[in-house]
């Protein structure tokens, strides 16, 4: 299957502008970005996609083997870059995607030349001398919540939600499908997200990096943001006056401004 269809790739904005690749995190899909896209599209070529297993991606391409590790998701990023032959990409990754971006940038330094980490956390579970904010039991509790809330997911609806990128009349149903995920796939993504440990990868980041944190984020608290900033060589830290884990929703203007400002500083 074509990568564009497989990952539901959407390209918008100024065709000759510098490329911004927006990657969603665990939970929803590329619609997470829709409040910041207009602000970025004026100057940039904006590329959006859904990881396989999320949004309107092709579920038949999903396998636990590939998507049981962050490398599988990074492979999706590289596939999209190669399919569109993207160069000099600014990769904006929300939450777990920030760490996926680290892996992708390491694998394709010729394509991904800067990183924006939105509400990143390299490790969610507390560790010896490290505070990620959660225990393994907390993650199990999340799993239980996933079990209890299918959010409109039903296998009968899956093909409608996932498989018809070429049928615009289904756009109205999109907001219903938003966040609806096959529970089995969601479980794997949740485990991959919350049980991974990417701390060791951070010192190896070689590209200019913006760490964008929220002032009050229960998932990625400020001390985690400070940890990432300290660990990524030469990174810039910006703290948004925003509550929650999704500043692109709760403070879209400030988020877009911070991203655009960082992109302007790039050579």
């Amino acid at each position: 299957m074509d990568v564009r269809d497989r990952n539901n790739v959407v390209v918008t904005g100024r065709p000759d502008g510098p490329v911004v690749l927006l990657a969603h995190g665990f939970g929803c899909d590329q619609n997470m970005w829709r409040l910041v896209v207009p602000a970025l599209a004026a100057e940039h070529r904006v590329v959006l996609f859904d990881y396989v297993g999320s949004g309107r991606s092709d579920l038949s391409a999903w396998s636990e083997e590939r998507y049981g590790s962050l490398d599988g998701y990074a492979r999706d990023v590289l596939d999209v870059c190669e399919e569109l032959d993207l160069r000099d990409v600014a990769f904006v990754g929300h939450s777990v995607s920030a760490m996926i971006g680290v892996l992708a940038a390491a694998a394709a330094p010729d394509r991904i030349t800067s990183l924006v980490m939105v509400a990143p956390s390299p490790r969610y579970i507390d560790d010896d001398g490290y505070r990620g904010g959660f225990s393994a039991a907390d993650i199990e509790e999340l799993m239980a919540s996933l079990e209890s809330n299918y959010l409109g997911w039903s296998s009968a609806m899956a093909p409608v939600i996932m498989g018809n990128p070429d049928r615009p009349e289904l756009a109205a149903e999109l907001s219903d499908g938003f966040c609806a995920t096959d529970p089995a796939i969601a479980r794997v993504f949740a485990r991959t997200t919350f049980l991974s440990d990417s701390r060791a990868d951070l010192p190896d980041v070689k590209v200019p990096t913006l760490v964008l944190e929220c002032s009050e984020d229960v998932i990625a608290p400020r001390e985690v943001g400070a940890y990432v900033h300290a660990a990524v060589p030469g990174s810039t830290l910006v703290t948004l006056d925003a509550t929650g884990h999704c500043p692109q929703l709760s403070a879209p203007e400030a988020t877009a401004a911070a991203i655009a400002g960082f992109l302007r500083t790039r050579p």
């Binding site: 999340l142 919540s145 938003f178 929650g244 884990h245 929703l249 709760s250």
Partner: protein
């Protein structure tokens, strides 16, 4: 206010005068606030960042908190368990922002006493005049009973999934075991085939001036046969051959066959006299297999020597208890009489019958084991028999070694499951003067 209008009407149908209507009105006015505070569900309103601005008494009661502890101090997600908070941040809040409402989400509240309170949460965003989001209104339903039931269902489903996984695993293991067994069986078959190969020549050598053909049938593919034959050069001129049948079947018979074959080959090179070769074999087998489980074999051993005339071949034979060889050709099939030779290995001193014949061009010497003559045929399952074999062989219009073996192979295949023993055939022929010779033979 449809509801308000309808309630007095309903009540009025039961009893109403003007003073009762007034009492209802007063009650209802009072109950709007009363209803909010003590509704059978929790109510709360928060700012867009989740800070609690208003909360009803019902929810405070469930939480075990006072209004002062909550309002302006806590966010909605602070009321949740940690796992619920993760879910709130990754799913609930983004969805609410996107859609403006979200309903029936199962979450758990954490009470001041440390208990968990399963609930179903519905939230709606209230927008201002310019469509800007102002606040979030949230309703919380007690879902303890429902969740207990759902968890039962969930456990049931998980148990079913587990059972299915277990069943699939068991099936996988069974398939693996079967695959393993098939592999073992095929390995064993290979080993048996290799062993069987070592008991027989892989191909018959080319004997100058002669044609040789052979056939070998084992009664069962996973059982080693007890029949054997061989053909090999003695010196520049003479060739030796033998064919025989070891009593019994299986590995022990195969071991004896192996001993027999290599003893005969070695004995022949030492002294090519047929009776001497069998005597050597007799000594070896009798020493090896004396006792309560006597083992022996039948065998014909022979030496081929081209005649001085360059046309005929002289055959000298010795037999130990083996059915006589047949000379086939010219519409005849005559036994070379070797009756009276003793089974090989039975007694320490054994006598073997000796005979000699000359093969003319167009004649073939056939050696066979009794699997051929003892096959059961026909509706009465009678034994095929020596006489029938002789008649069949005499009736062959073509008597070259190849033709004889081909014809007998066809005959054996016709026996079907009547052929219940191993069978070996070895045919040694002197080709006729021309290709037409065979065909001209009546």
């Amino acid at each position: 206010m449809d509801g308000v209008g309808r309630v007095p009407g309903t009540a009025g149908a039961g009893g109403g005068d003007a003073s009762a209507d007034a009492a209802f009105t007063a009650l209802l006015e009072d109950s709007e606030r009363e209803l909010y505070e003590n509704a059978p569900c929790g109510h709360l309103s928060t700012l867009m960042d989740g800070t609690v601005a208003k909360i009803n008494q019902t929810l405070l009661g469930w939480l075990g908190l006072t209004r002062d502890q909550v309002v302006g101090r806590m966010r909605f997600s602070d009321l949740l368990t940690v796992g619920g908070r993760l879910y709130h941040e990754t799913h609930f809040a983004p969805l609410l922002r996107m859609r403006g409402e979200i309903s029936g989400i199962a979450l758990e509240l954490r009470t001041a006493h440390g208990d968990r309170l399963p609930c179903l949460v519905t939230s709606v965003i209230k927008y201002g005049g310019a469509d800007e989001p102002l606040l979030i209104r949230t309703t919380v339903f007690d879902a303890r009973e429902r969740r207990a039931y759902e968890e039962e269902l969930l456990r049931g489903r998980q148990a079913a999934e587990r059972a299915q996984r277990d069943a699939e695993e068991a099936q996988r293991q069974a398939e693996e075991a079967q695959r393993q067994a098939e592999q073992d069986r095929s390995r064993l078959k290979e080993a048996l085939a290799a062993l069987q190969q070592s008991l027989l020549p892989s191909t018959l050598p080319e004997v100058p001036g002669m044609e040789a053909a052979s056939y070998y049938h084992t009664a069962s593919p996973d059982r080693l046969g007890g029949d054997f034959y061989d053909l090999f050069p003695l010196d520049g001129k003479r060739w030796a051959f033998f064919l025989g049948d070891v009593c019994g079947k299986g590995p022990q018979a195969a071991a004896m066959t192996s001993l027999t074959r290599y003893t005969l080959r070695a004995a022949a090179l030492h002294d090519p006299d047929p009776a001497v070769a069998l005597t050597t074999l007799n000594t070896v087998l009798n020493e090896r297999y004396s006792g309560g489980d006597p083992r022996y074999c039948t065998a014909i051993f022979g030496v081929l020597e081209p005649g001085d005339d360059g046309r005929t071949v002289t055959v000298r034979l010795a037999s130990g208890g083996h059915p006589p060889a047949l000379v086939i050709g010219g519409g005849r099939a005559d036994p070379v009489p070797t009756t009276g030779g003793l089974l090989v290995g039975v007694l320490p001193d054994a006598h073997f019958a000796e005979a000699a014949t000359t093969l003319e061009p167009g004649q073939t010497l056939l050696l066979y084991t009794d699997g051929l003559t003892e096959a059961r045929i026909g509706p009465g399952r009678e034994r095929f028999g020596d006489d029938a074999l002789r008649d069949f062989a005499a009736g062959l219009t073509a008597a070259s070694a190849g033709h004889v073996v081909t014809a007998l192979t066809g005959l054996l295949e016709g026996f079907g499951d009547g052929l219940d023993d191993d069978t070996a055939l070895l045919a040694l022929g002197v080709p006729g003067s021309g290709a037409a010779t065979d065909e001209d033979t009546p």
